[in-house]
């Protein structure tokens, strides 16, 4: 099975280990990833908060490049990039006038042939026996709180592959890896996203609540699918402890890292050495 791969800016920097682990896990599962040559930033929240046309056009360039590459649907690990590309695809498909206008802006047309799928959706859709066959180091009942965040599941008219209030696809993968997904109520609460840079106190309150609810649910770790969520929950965890006087020490890893660990891949190949709060299952 082959896909066109869109990494996105964060996966080359703050979310480096998401890129590493996504490639390693896909490699093990026999999924070919052909990166879009010369892809650009999806525009993220700053673009859609500034100009609707700019947001669609920036994503449309990537969609057109992927389509021209002809290597199949686009698979996106980052929840935010995934949602931006999927929104642009939907709007371009529903509005011929917009498609024409955007093609004039970018100088490239996108006919809608290349679809957009999140990596979670793709891995969740694999044959479970195929996945189970790769598990050589089951996680021994490790309790994991699956944190989906906002953009993987919302708005459902765009994303649509999982329940927007109680998504399960990550829980199912985590269970296959031998861990125990805990039931909890903060699966899709917002982490504050880019407010970490612009208004940190707001993000720290949201992160504190997410960590607290995960801990009360008995979680040993959080599992996520977005580099912004991961950074807020992991790298800013020390800031939360400092500001609120808490003592959180919850590892926050990408679902691809957890899966890769169960597949027996090395910490280095999965970028597990890059986490702030160390992940040491069984210790």
């Amino acid at each position: 099975m082959n896909y066109t791969y869109y990494a996105g800016c964060s996966l080359h920097a703050t979310g480096r280990e998401f890129d590493l682990s996504a490639r390693a896990v896909c490699g093990r599962l026999g999924i070919g990833l052909a990166e879009i040559p010369d892809w650009n930033c999806c525009g993220a929240s700053p673009a859609h908060s500034t100009s609707h046309l700019l947001a669609v056009a920036l994503s449309a360039r990537n969609l057109a490049l992927a389509e021209a590459q002809g290597a199949g649907d686009i698979v996106v690990p980052c929840a935010a990039c995934y949602q931006r590309l999927a929104v642009a695809r939907k709007e371009l498909g529903e509005d011929p006038g917009l498609r024409e206008q955007v093609a004039r802006i970018t100088g490239r047309d996108y006919a809608g042939r290349a679809g957009v799928r999140s990596l979670l959706e793709v891995l969740g859709g694999l044959d479970t026996e195929h996945l189970k066959a790769q598990v050589t180091r089951p996680l021994g009942g490790l309790k994991a709180a699956c944190y989906y965040g906002c953009l993987l599941v919302r708005p459902p008219a765009v994303t649509g592959f999982d329940d927007p209030e109680d998504p399960r696809s990550m829980d199912d993968l985590v269970r296959l890896a031998g861990a125990e997904p805990v039931p909890w109520g903060y699966k899709t609460e917002c982490c504050g996203a880019a407010h970490g840079v612009a208004n940190e106190p707001v993000t720290l309150k949201l992160v504190r609540d997410i960590l607290e609810v995960a801990r009360r649910a008995g979680a040993d770790c959080l599992v996520c699918a977005c580099p912004l969520c991961q950074n807020n929950l992991d790298a800013r965890q020390e800031h939360v402890n400092r500001v609120f006087g808490t003592d959180f020490g919850l590892p926050v890893l990408y679902f691809t890292q957890l899966l890769g660990w169960a597949f027996g891949l090395s910490d280095r190949d999965l970028g597990l050495d890059k986490l702030f709060v160390k992940f040491r299952p069984g210790v």
């Binding site: 800016c9 964060s10 080359h12 920097a13 703050t14 979310g15 480096r16 280990e17 010369d38 892809w39 650009n40 930033c41 525009g43 993220a44 929240s45 700053p46 673009a47 859609h48 908060s49 500034t50 100009s51 609707h52 046309l53 700019l54 056009a57 920036l58 360039r61 206008q101 004039r104 802006i105 970018t106 100088g107 906002c150 953009l151 919302r154 708005p155 459902p156 927007p164 209030e165 899709t188 609460e189 917002c190 504050g192 996203a193 880019a194 407010h195 840079v197 612009a198 208004n199 940190e200 707001v202 309150k205 949201l206 790298a235 800013r236 020390e238 050495d273 890059k274 986490l275 702030f276």
Partner: protein, 188 residues
Amino acid sequence: MLNLSRAAADGAHFVEEVEKRSGQRLTHCYQCGKCTAGCPLAFSMDLMPHQVIRLVQLGLREEALDNKAVWLCSTCATCSTRCPKNVDLAALMDALRIMARREGRTRKGASTALFNRIFLDSVRRHGRAHELGIGLQHNLRSGKPFKDSDLARGLLVRGRLKFRPSRIKGAAEVARIFAEVKRMEDGQ
């Protein structure tokens, strides 16, 4: 205190512009408050999300645009997902931010507006967002030079930040997209 007589002059025009930009019918909202009940950012806002819609319905441009709430909305779309009348409030908030910026009403969301500007400037110049550069610029221009310096150090030693931006081959093409969009929108 709301000055409703002011709304009479400009109100209808304002409502029409918001509807056009957001693609939402404002009359669909019957103020049930479900958006506010589920909003994860409501705790930090000066106006509740349902109040923002109400102000737009009343045609009160200044009150609807010049507040903290529109800039604190993280576009998580919990409201849009739960609205019993299918109003996409996240899309509405986008439209309000776009209009607020165009009218120079960013005072109550200065930090977020600055972040957006610096982020897009990075994309316009390199084709991709350079996270370290964006963080540093934001610190310098918001007068907090050492904010997150511990975080940046931690990310650097883990190989999770790049000193230099990655400039794509099509950077000029991306810059042209920005210029074209600006030309089209200014010509509206």
